[in-house]
Each structure stands twice: as C-alpha cells, then as structure tokens.
Symmetry: C2
Subunit: 265 residues, 2 copies
C-alpha cells in the first residue's frame, strides 16, 4: 500500500490514494469539499502526548460533535487504519498552526514541525455524507455555514466551551430527507441537533467561522443544524495549548473508507 | 438527584434509581439481566490512571466491541452523565477483582479498595437491546453465550487480543429481525459481526466464558454473533495489569438512560 502511494506507475491507485497523492505532490491545493466525493473525510487535530488523554476524553464526552475515527500511535503520522501508507504531514492541502491559541501562517506541509510526542486525531466530518445527501436530492454545494452557538459541551480537564454547528438552509422536504440520510452516519455527527429558530441554540449568525455573511430571512426554507467537528479545535484554542496543528477549514483528510460502506469503525 | 438516591421517602425514585438503591442496600443481589429492563446497562472496568489513555485508545480502536459510554473523572466514582448521584463502588450487585491477571474473590462493595488514581469506564452492554428484541419477537432469556473467537482486535499499547462475542441461536426470521433491531443501537455493539458457521470466526464453543455448555447441532436455527463488551476485560487480563475491577458477568450497571431514547451519547 505504501509503495502504491509512492506513485509506482505499474499499480493503479484507488481514487482516495490518487487524491492524497495529488495533494502531497501539490497538484491539488484547494478545498477537499467535493474532492474524492464519497470517501469518509476527517478533520485533523494534532496535539502533544501530554494532552492526548484529556483531549480523547473530551471527544468521548462530546461524541456527536467529536466522533474520533482514528488516533495514531504517538509520534506516528500514518493513519494505519483509515489510510495505510498515507502521511498526515503532507497529505492534507493546507494546515492551520496555533501556538498558545494564536493562529500562525498556514502551511502546506508540516514535516518540519513534526515531533516524536505528537498525537494525530482524525475526527469524522460532515462532508462525508454530502454525496448521500446529493443522491437523495439535498443540495450540498451552497447555503452552508459553520457557526458558534451557546449549547455547552461536556468538559474534560482543560477542554471545554460551546458547541460549533454546521447550518444549512433547506426546504422542509429536504430537511426531513437530510435527517434520515445523516442519521445513517452516526460516527460522522449523525442526525441534526436542531431544526428551526437559530436563537433557540444561540447560533451566532453574525460571525460565521466559515462561510459568507448569513442572510437571515429566507422564504420557504428552514435552518438545519448539525454538531460540527470544529468543536474540539475551538475547545483546544480556548485552552491556549502550547501547540495545535489542524486542517485548515474545508481542507480535510481523505480516507480510504468509502462513505457508503461506513457503518462502524 | 443525589438526595433522591439516599432514599428520601418524600420523593419518588425513577425505576433505574430504585434499582440501584435496591442493589446498594442489598435487596437485589443477583444478575441485572432482566432487571430495570429498558434502561441502558453498562459493563464496568476500573483501572489506574496510568493505564487510562491506552485503555481508552484500545476501546476507540475497537468501538464495536468496546463502546465507551462514560469515563468518570480520575478518582470520581460517580457517573455524572449516565446516572447522577450513583456510586460505582456500591451500585453494582457483584464485582470481579483481578490482580496481575488473577481473579480474586468477588465483592459486593468496593469502597475499601477505591483509590484516588482509579478511573471508571462504562462500556455499553448488549443487554441494553434485550427489551427491543423481545418487543420485536426475538427471545432473549435463553440460548445466549459469551465466547472467545479468533477475530483479532486492533492493539493499543499493551492492550491486545482476540474479540469476545455473544452468540444466540435464532430462527432465520428472528435473525433478520435481530440484525435490524440491534443496528438501531450503534453505541451498544450495534448489528451482529457474523451469522452462520461458528468456525468461520473461530468461536470457541467448547469453552464458553458465560453460559451453559453449547449444544452444537440445532435444527432450524442459525447462530448469530455480536461483538461483546467483555473484550476489553480480556485484553486487560492478558496484559496482567496490576489491578482491574469489573462487574461480575451479567451483574452490570443500570444507567438512567432509557434504551428507547438512546441515540447518541
């Protein structure tokens, strides 16, 4: 598998291997949204080993927002279960680096930063069910925002803070379909956590973390909210940990796992 | 909630609170199978903090067998999320104590053993979906075994070993129903891992860990296998950790969570 990732022309790459190779070699530099569609995509969080237990516990206590799909062995950048042969230091198109809670310039390769006490967490992303939504008639390419809300998370050690949510505007029919489709992905946030009035969960429409300014009044559509995998990053930021490396928003990690086959890890 | 657990006659206890009180005060001493039916039941594993990260990681890597529903804070015997006010040192009817992998005499109260570096893990049990199976016409009170098999688990640190499975003999119709029903409980082992020939997964019919001797040949029924929450206990035993305390088989912890409502933790 590792040999195939090196680009041996004799062996065919699977779509996810090809996608990661294109990212590693700089041919794909943009968002992974819509890229290698149908594969489970993950959010990346890298922390030092000293924080790993508390962070894993925080994710366990908030598994709807933070479904952990793989934790690499300490010091190992290869996700051996979800993408054997891949390298989490090179195979995402863009990385966000935070020191003491302050975002540093983004990087496209973090090999120079890697240390032996780093632990890489892969957390399920809602992008995973985009293809299933599309197939069921729910559009996924627009009208989507990442927002802070006031729903609390369950703390663990130094990690705590409000939930981050993904919001989509959907017609009532699309909303009902979207509940059913996303519920089939319990390890990628699952069904929505709220539908209707954004104020009921204190959704901060004025300051989206991702997406254009939110148009508040729409006719014939209802806002639908999912717990979002950005939640644990926000908690780690608020804790001002000395170093955290994540994927840049919408620049996730493409696994070998096909979303259609994804049932339980 | 804690006050209500003290048995204040002025306040009504919920069925799960009453069940735990009966256990704590010695009125219920037997199996929890069929007791407070319809509530999520958990397997208990208590280990020292020094092992907590590796154990939690082992569970994450084998979540089908080891669905972690709650991890208490270090030194805290109260499962604040699943049963506020409960005490994991007294609220299970029987405890198994292992030192260096050797089982000691069972206890009905572990307050004298409790230390400040203990971490309690609650792991989802298949007993949780017994009521749903019964309602759907699948009998749950007999023909059930806990067996070792040869399917490997994904190691984490010192924890490794084969999967433990629960086996039931079911008619083909019951088996199909049981797949559908248990799949609705993805955080309590979910759907079966195998149906049919026990040899295909190396199920050790000759030496059941729980249940009577297995009658190998049956007409008109098929064996159905689920990943079992005893798996992580077996891994910890094989690792010969200095001290592990668990529930005694079929003497689990009754949570306040109603199984019918259980979707995501």
């Amino acid at each position: 598998m590792a040999d195939r990732m090196k680009g041996d022309p004799q062996s065919a790459l699977t779509p996810s291997q090809q996608a990661r190779l294109d990212i590693r070699e700089g041919r794909h530099t943009g968002t992974t949204r819509g890229f290698a569609l149908g594969h489970v995509q993950c959010n990346l969080v890298i922390l030092r080993q000293a924080l790993a237990y508390e962070f894993l516990l925080y994710c366990q206590r908030n598994s709807r927002a933070c479904p952990v799909l793989e934790v690499c062995d300490t010091g190992d950048p290869e996700p051996r279960r979800l993408a054997p042969g891949a390298d989490l230091r090179t195979d995402l198109p863009r990385y966000a680096v935070y020191r003491q809670g302050e975002r540093q310039p983004d990087l496209t390769d973090i090999r120079d930063l890697w240390e032996q006490d780093f632990v890489a967490f892969l957390i399920g992303s809602g992008i995973t069910f985009d293809l299933a939504l599309e197939r069921a008639g729910v559009p996924t390419t627009r009208d989507r925002w990442v927002l802070r809300c006031t729903l609390p998370t369950e703390p663990a050690g130094r990690f705590r803070g409000p939930m981050v949510v993904t919001m989509r505007w959907l017609t009532p029919e699309q909303a009902i379909t979207a509940v059913q489709v996303s519920a089939r992905f319990p390890f990628n946030h699952g069904a929505p956590i709220h539908v209707g009035d954004p104020a009921a969960i204190g959704a901060d429409l004025a300051n989206p973390l991702f997406g254009p300014p939110v148009d508040k009044v729409r006719d014939g559509v209802v806002p639908v909210f999912w717990a979002c995998g950005v939640t644990p990053q926000e908690a780690a930021l608020a804790a001002k940990v000395d170093l955290m490396i994540t994927h840049a928003p919408a620049h996730g990690f493409i696994t070998d796992l096909e979303a259609d086959k994804f049932c339980l890890p």
